[in-house]
Amino acid sequence: MDSIDRAIVNRLQDGIEICERPFAPISHSLGIPEAELASRVERLLADGTLSRFGPMYNASELGGAFTLAAMSIPAGDFERSADLVNAHPEVAHNYERDHALNMWFVVAAERPEGVANVIREIERETGYAVLDLPKLTEYFLDLRLPAQP
């Protein structure tokens, strides 16, 4: 990452406008052509610096339901279980964590019963219990993090 990449990562985390040419003012302020901005973002996506670029949808505002789920999986069975969990399209994020509860994932479904169904299926497929920890109150959410030199 060079300084232009870092500026792109920081600028694009704040979001783009919904207008005909949303990249034009950004490329102008960075002093690079729009085509270069696009090719740099493509590279940052391809090399994994950016996970995604696009609309960040709020599932709970879609009439959907979310939960954070946790499982305690023996080391020898971890990869198989991760594949089974990740195969569900409702599993949006999944992290391995350094704890007895070593797998933590977010389930997002369009309807509340969808979350319960996915949890039941995962318990049946893996053979391990799932701890269901839905958000009760959101005090703060902002995932932006600065790219620093």
Binding site: V9, L12, Q13, D14, G15, I18, C19, E20, P22, F23, A24, A38, V41, E42, L44, T49, L50, S51, R52, F53, G54, P55, M56, Y57, N58, E61, L62, G63, G64, L68, A82, V85, N86, E90, A92, H93, N94, Y95, E96, R97, D98, H99, L101, M103, W104, F105, A108, E110, L131, L133, P134, K135, L136, T137, E138, Y139, F140, L143, L145, A147
Partner: protein
């Protein structure tokens, strides 16, 4: 279309969500590109997305970074056991700390899980995260009965929210 009656979205909104949940095309006129794939005018796609943003259905149209790749190698989910009757005031204060990216109340599931306040803390190193966790502990004071920090070891999946293509 299976949207609940109180959901403010219609079939065209849903088509836009399905078309963009993998990301926005990196072309000079991205909303027009989405629109041409859906057989809609670009102005309609933009108007619908502006409405969804106003409703809070779309938080932002933005890049989501991989924390590890930005140098945030220590990503700790700090979890706290605080009294239920004080949690709202405490959650607001913890959430306001600059290094906390999300702060939620979640249920206890006894006996397996005693913690009701979750605050995600990011840092370059675990030492940096630990120092920030100590700040949270100081802020909570005597309301803090126990805590743990669960560090992420590996991202197993990160696709964002998905709608099924029904």
């Amino acid at each position: 279309m299976n949207a609940r009656s109180d959901a403010p979205l219609d079939a065209a909104d849903r088509a836009i969500i399905l078309a963009t949940q993998d990301g926005l095309p990196l072309v000079p006129r991205p909303y027009h590109a989405v629109a041409s794939g859906l057989g809609m005018p670009g102005e309609e796609v933009m108007a619908r997305m502006q409405r969804m943003r106003a409703l809070g259905v779309i938080r932002r149209i933005a890049a989501v970074p991989n924390h590890y790749r930005l140098g945030y190698r220590a990503n700790g989910m700090s979890v706290w056991d605080v009294p239920d009757d004080r949690i709202d005031a405490l959650g607001e204060r913890v959430g306001a700390l600059s290094f906390v990216s999300h702060c939620y109340r979640r249920p206890r599931v006894l006996p397996a899980w005693r913690y009701n306040l979750f605050a995600m803390v990011h840092g370059a190193t675990r030492a940096e995260v630990e120092a920030r966790v100590s700040e949270i502990a100081a802020l909570l004071g005597d309301a803090h009965r126990a805590h743990e920090v669960l560090y992420s070891k590996r991202i197993l999946k990160k696709t964002g929210m998905r709608l099924r293509r029904t």
